[in-house]
Each structure stands twice: as structure tokens, then as C-alpha cells.
Amino acid sequence: MSKSREDGAKKDQSMVIQKEMIANHYKRLERVPETREPVVYTFVPGNLTELVRSFGALPVLPEINALQSGMRKKSGDYIAEAERHGHSEDVCTYVKCDIGMIKAGNIGPTGTRLPKPDLLLLSYTGCYTFMKWFELLREEYDCPTVFFHVPYQGDGILEPEHREYMVRQLHEEVIPALEKATGNSYDEDRLKEYLALSARSEDDLVAVLQSAKQRPSPIDAYFGAVYYVGPIFSAFRGTQEGVNYYKALRQEVEARAAAGLGPVAPSGPMGEEKYRLVVEGPPNWTHFREFWQMFADEGACVVASTYTKVGGTYDFGFRHDPADPLGTQADYCGGCYTNINLPGRIDMLVDYLKAYEADGFVINSVKSCNSFSAGQLMMLREVEKRTGIPGAFIESDLVDPRYFSAANIKNRLESYLQMIDARRAGLSA
């Protein structure tokens, strides 16, 4: 192990905590056949973790399994397996990775077997493919499904009637389905308790993400932050473990900020912060470290990203509110990044470019995800127009290793950064 790697590992204690939390969760899932704990599958955007947990159920998030499989170099084989079962090359690769994993024995990314779901809880927040994905899983597992419809913010606002509509669904459909699947009754006090824990984690997460306003930024708010949002986007929102993790993470980041240190990239602490960038779109998972290192090698630090808002947007003030346990979950779901319309996404990017004093922005357009990619070029032009800052456009995929061309991405990124250099030299001349 290189010295720089050791430094990196030592400084990222929170990573150790997180790894343990995740491993324990998967172990607990593996023991389900003996413990008989109920299991609810749900997706990251609009996940109702506190509610699910309040019924004593364990959440499983298929996209997290898919992206973890991508990071652990297993997704290529899973996708090939799904394609052997007739899924075409153009189908979302998260879906194929998940289906392939199930067909290959349903061994999760950490090497433990995943339990069957007692309920598929589909919280619909803008991704049409999620519906089809759960239809496929329903075929696979022959289990009950409940559909929670979150109205899309087509006009950029969540109206009171949208909120009422969602709360009514929670009362009339989601809660009864959870009661039936778990055999437990709805316990609002417990839910409130969990929501309060969520709000504490959210405060700490926002402090961590906003630390990037400092120069140099102590964190990378895209590559680094996908680890930071991991617990809150998956099974740990509303848990004491989550609260502990975010407290530790915040202390760690604040210490880095106080010491004037930059982020730790895969090959070690990053050098001088030469470029501050905002990124739109999900990362590529199959070559995640290589992708990050391309930025780090150039001294490019990501100071804000939209992807880290797919499982909840907290940096504009929203917090889970225990005083309104169902209404707050409606607000949360409506505000997830996937549920925000194109003008809303543009506003967010413009806001980030200004608030984080960024030099530029990069759109990573992923082949798999039309929910993300459709309209991104229009967004690029509009953000350029409103800020006067040119953007870059790169293309890859979520978990299909065939769609990652290192040379092509490196070329575009380097060209873009050199373009920023030329622009700086030109502007100062």
C-alpha cells in the first residue's frame, strides 16, 4: 500500500464507520430467513425509510445494490446475464444489473445473500423505469406491491393539493400495505422519533456539503459526497447509526477545513485546487476511482453537484419535521432532484455556480438514464446564458463498463479545463 493511500485511509475514519454500517446491514439482511424480519424494497429517490423502519422492516434499495456491484466490477457480468435473459442493450443498466444479480443467485455486493421482499414499495418520483423495474421484480418474487404516486413538479412547485394527495395515499394505501406485509401496526410516535433523528443527520450533511464554499474546499462534493450521502440515501436515515456517522463526518470535515486541507482523492490527498466545478448527472460507477482521479490529477475539485440531491434536497432548507410526520414525507419526496423540472434544475445549477464561486460546470450524461439525460443540453445552454460560464459535456453510463471510454472522457475534461485556463488568461489580459 502506498504512503498516500495510507494517509487517505487514516484521514477518512468516517469511511471505516460507513463500511461497517453497510456490512452489518447486509449481514442482517442475510439472516432474515432465521430472524423473520420483514423486508421492504424501495428506491432511493422518495425512499420512506423512517416509515419502513417504524414498522420494524428492513429496507433494500436495488439501485444501491446495482451501483455497488458497478464499483466492485461485478456489473458487467450481471448485465450480460440479464441480456442473456432477453433484456436489450438499451434497457437501463441499473435494471439489468439488478436482474442479472438475482439470476446469478442474488448475492449482494458485499457477498451476502439478499432476502426476498415482503413488499415492493414504489415511491414514484419522476423515473418511469422504476415502475417497470418493480413490475419485473414482482414477476420474479410474486409479492405484493404498493404504489405511492408523487406528483412531478412540472410547474416548479408542489401545490397544497399535491401534498394532501400524497398524505392521503400514505394513509389509505402505503400504511395499510406496510401493516399487512409486516404484521405490525402503524406507530406514529416511533415514526416521529425516527424523523427527529433524520433531521439531525440532515443538519450535519448540509454542513458537510456546504463546507465546499471554503477555499480550498475540504471535500469533493461529487465524488467524495456520493460516499457522504450513502447512509442517508439508503437504509440509515432516521437511525441512531446514521446520526453518529454524520456527526463523525462533520467533525472530520470541519477539522480538514480548519486545517486548510483539500479533499482526499483515490490516490491520496489532492494537490492545489486549480478549478472549482459544479457537476450535473450521476457518476459512472464501473470506473469510479479512475473517473475521480482524472479530475483530481488536474486539480479540479467539485464544489457542488446535483446528483447528491437525488435522495433528498436539504441544502435549500428542507428538513424532516417530526411535528408533521406524513406531510413532511410528502414534502421530502416532492423535493427529490429527480422530481424537479428542467427550469428548477437549471436554477439549482446557477445557484451552485454562484454560491460556491465555481469556475465551471460539467454535465455527465449517462446513456442509461433518460430521466436524467433528456434536456441536459438545453440545461447546458441555459446555464451558460445565465452565468456567462461555459459548460462541458461528457458521456458515460451508470454501471455498464462498455460505455466508459477513459480516453474520450479525459480528452473532453482536459480540453474543458484548458479552455478555462485560456479564458482566465484572456480575461486577465
Binding site: 451558460e384 459535456f393 471510454s405 480516453a407 474520450n408 480528452n411 480540453s415 484548458q418 484572456g426
Partner: protein, 424 residues
């Protein structure tokens, strides 16, 4: 004389441009990018030096000899270079015959090889004597390969030393010739070339001056697909996107939009009034519709790359082609031929398909603005230029379309300009 050099290490060809202290172009050089990128860069650099020295020579000899004499000297120089490479190729092929398991056929193989090289050499000498020679590729691999293949086909005997055996020898050895640093520079061959044209009085002094001038390289900047392979410090490596923008601006100062179609990249670039890039788009990892695609089509049709454009321009009825996938290029071509379509009509369709793909990138980068400059190897293809002119007119109205005969050097020129600005 102090100079700066820009090297564009492309996927198909490697180009070099030398600038003098004032930033004026002294010389250009090109070679095919072989498996050894370092050597490709060295050859392109040497060729650019040769071209620069011919430029100095022409200046010195101005008024003393006719321009046609300088052109003849240049062709004599090329002949000397070719003969040098032929000698090496022949040595290697003969070694192969000796080593190979031809058994009883060895004498026959040796005699076929001797005959092939004798004829190629004769053809090369005749090509030099021809006052109006046909257009052909400048690369030794192409010229020698096409002659070797043709003669081997005539001499090949299915019962004895077959065509395939002879071709196998060539394939094995040409790569080695290309990857050996041969003495092909100006100083190595200029005196022999001068002698070959009878050492005209007015040229001798100019030749000595050109050979003796020192071209001190004070800065080198690399760009292109293989730029990471160049042994230069980071600040001397520039993205080809920026280089194409700057190079196009130098060639045509009114340039606002640049389209570059290279071997495996297509780029749409917008530049400001100083040639600085403001926006760009390029193809994704798939090289569909790039120069390499035309290369495959030429191979499929068994014709030279430079013959594709003229053939497409004979078309009266452009066939609609849907796919520009390089992998399926051959299949698409054969399918169309089997449907009875004419070769020229299919080729016209293929050129249009390539340009349609480029139009999509142009739109993504922000559109086409006046003036519009087309660069890269494909800009040498008149059928591609015509298709582009037509589609730009249909989509964006009247625009000035600039195509330089030296468009293939745009990236190297931009790199040299960056080098020049580093020095100043």
C-alpha cells in the same frame, strides 16, 4: 534560426508544423501514425524540418532557377527517400525468406521477391521521370504496398509461391521498416537528389545554405489523440480541441465555428475573435462517421482513400444510408451493392451520412456561425465538403465555408502557436 514546433499525434496520421520566431510557418510534415507513436512524432518532425529547409532553399534560389526545378529537386528527394526504404524493406523480406519454412520453394520465393523489388524500383524511377504524375498517397507504406500487392498478384503461383505467401512477407516486414528510425532527413539525401537532377548551377548554393542552417527548437507543444504518449511536460501538451480552434483562427481569422473530422474523432468547436474555444462537442466513444469509417469503406472497395471523394462526386442519385457504424460499414456497402445500387451513389450516401452526424454535433455545440472552417483529414475530401456545404446552407443559411488545402495541419499549427505564445 530559433523555431517552435507543434506536433499533432492523430490516430491515423501524425503532423508537425514549425514556426519561426515571428510565428510564421516554416514547414509542415506528415506521416502515418504507426504502432510506435514516438517514432511517428520523430518522423513527422523530420519531415517538417525537410519541408522547412525546402522553403529556405526556395527563398535562397528565387530568381536563379525556375520554380519547376525546385519542384523537381523535391521529387528527386522523395525518390531517394523511397529507394532508401525499399532497400531496407527488401533486406527484411529476404531475411524472412531465408528464415521461413518455404522448404523447396525457397529459391522460387527469393526470385519472386527479387523480381517484385526490381519492378517497384523501376516504377518509382518512372514515377519520378513522369512530368505529370498521377495523384497518390505520400506514405511509403501505401505506395510500396499497392505496387507490391499488384506485382505479387501477377507473379503468385497457386501451385508454387502463392500470392498469399508473398503478401505475408510484406505484411510482416513493412511494420518493421516503419518502426525503425531510418536516415530519411534532408541532409541525408539532398545531395543525391541534387545530383540526380544534374546539379543545376543556381541550386547548389541554396542547397548548401538550406542544409547548413540550424533550426534550433526552443519549444515543442504536442496535441492530438496520442498526446499523452509524448515525452513533454504537462504545460507543453494541449488538447487538440484548443489547437484546432487556434489553428483554424490563424488560417482564417474570421472563423467562429470549426468542424474537425479526424481519424476517430469528430469535433464541433466554437471560438471567439481570438481563436479561444468557447464551447465544443465531440463524438462519444464510438468512432462512427469519422475518417476511419471512410478508410474501412476504401478497404472494402479495394480502392485508395483519396479515390473515394472523386467517385462519390460522380453520383447523380444519392442513396440514403442510415448507419455510419464503422463496424457495419462493410456490411452496409455489400448490402447496397447486392440491391443493385451504383458504387458512386452509395458513396455519395455514405459521405452525406458522415456529414449528417457532424451536423448533429454542430447543433449540440451551438450551431454554425460565420465564418465556418472545416479542418482535419476528411476536409481534403471534396465529396464531404460538398455535402457539408449543402447541409449547412439548408440548416443555417448562407455561410462562408473555409477549407484550407493544409487543413490536415490545423491541430499541429495550433499546437505550434501555443508553443510560440509560451515563448513570448
Amino acid at each position: 534560426m530559433r523555431s517552435v514546433i507543434g506536433i499533432d499525434l492523430g490516430s491515423t496520421t501524425t503532423k508537425a508544423v514549425i514556426l519561426d520566431e515571428a510565428g510564421e510557418i516554416l514547414g509542415r510534415g506528415i506521416t502515418n501514425s504507426r504502432s510506435d507513436y514516438d517514432l511517428a512524432a520523430a518522423v513527422a518532425r523530420s519531415e517538417a524540418h525537410t519541408n522547412a529547409r525546402f522553403g529556405l532553399l526556395a527563398q535562397a534560389a528565387e530568381g536563379r532557377v525556375k520554380p519547376s526545378q525546385i519542384a523537381r529537386l523535391m521529387r528527386a528527394f522523395r525518390l531517394e527517400q523511397t529507394l532508401r526504404q525499399l532497400v531496407r524493406l527488401r533486406e527484411l523480406v529476404e531475411e524472412e525468406v531465408e528464415k521461413s519454412g518455404f522448404g523447396g520453394l525457397k529459391p522460387a520465393a527469393a526470385s519472386a521477391v527479387a523480381e517484385i523489388f526490381k519492378r517497384i524500383e523501376e516504377e518509382e524511377r518512372a514515377f519520378f521521370r513522369n512530368l505529370d504524375p498521377p495523384k497518390r498517397s505520400d506514405f511509403f507504406r501505401d505506395a510500396a504496398g499497392s505496387a507490391y500487392t499488384r506485382i505479387a498478384e501477377e507473379l503468385g503461383d497457386p501451385q508454387g509461391v502463392s500470392f498469399d505467401m508473398l503478401l505475408g512477407l510484406y505484411d510482416k516486414c513493412i511494420i518493421r521498416v516503419e518502426n525503425e528510425p531510418l536516415d530519411l532527413g534532408f541532409r541525408d539525401h539532398i545531395l543525391a537528389a541534387l545530383k540526380r537532377i544534374g546539379s543545376p548551377e543556381g541550386l547548389r548554393g541554396a542547397v548548401s545554405m538550406a542544409a547548413e542552417t540550424e533550426l534550433e527548437e526552443v519549444s515543442t507543444v504536442g496535441t492530438g489523440y496520442g498526446r499523452a504518449r509524448l515525452p513533454f511536460p504537462k504545460e507543453q501538451i494541449r488538447s487538440e480541441i484548443l489547437c484546432h480552434g487556434l489553428g483554424a483562427h490563424r488560417m482564417f481569422p474570421g472563423t467562429r465555428t470549426v468542424l474537425d473530422i479526424g481519424g476517430q474523432d469528430t469535433k464541433a468547436i466554437q471560438v471567439d475573435d481570438r481563436g479561444l474555444v468557447t464551447s465544443f462537442q465531440m463524438n462519444d466513444r464510438c468512432a462512427a462517421g469519422c475518417g476511419r469509417y471512410l478508410g474501412y469503406i476504401a478497404d472494402e472497395m479495394n480502392i485508395g482513400l483519396h479515390e473515394l471523394g472523386p467517385m462519390a462526386q460522380k453520383s447523380k442519385r444519392c442513396v440514403k444510408i442510415n448507419s455510419t457504424c464503422t463496424v457495419f460499414a462493410g456490411a452496409e456497402l455489400r448490402e447496397r451493392l447486392s440491391l443493385g445500387e451504383k458504387r458512386e451513389d452509395i458513396l455519395a450516401g455514405l459521405h452525406r451520412a458522415i456529414i449528417l452526424r457532424a451536423m448533429s454535433l454542430l447543433a449540440r455545440s451551438g450551431g454554425v456561425f460565420d465564418e465556418f472552417t472545416f479542418t482535419g483529414g476528411v476536409a481534403n475530401n471534396h465529396a464531404a465538403v460538398s455535402a457539408l456545404e449543402k447541409l449547412v446552407h439548408e440548416n443555417y443559411g448562407e455561410k462562408t465555408l473555409n477549407v484550407s488545402p493544409d487543413s490536415i495541419y490545423t491541430g499541429a499549427l495550433g499546437a505550434a502557436l501555443f508553443g510560440h505564445s509560451l515563448e513570448n
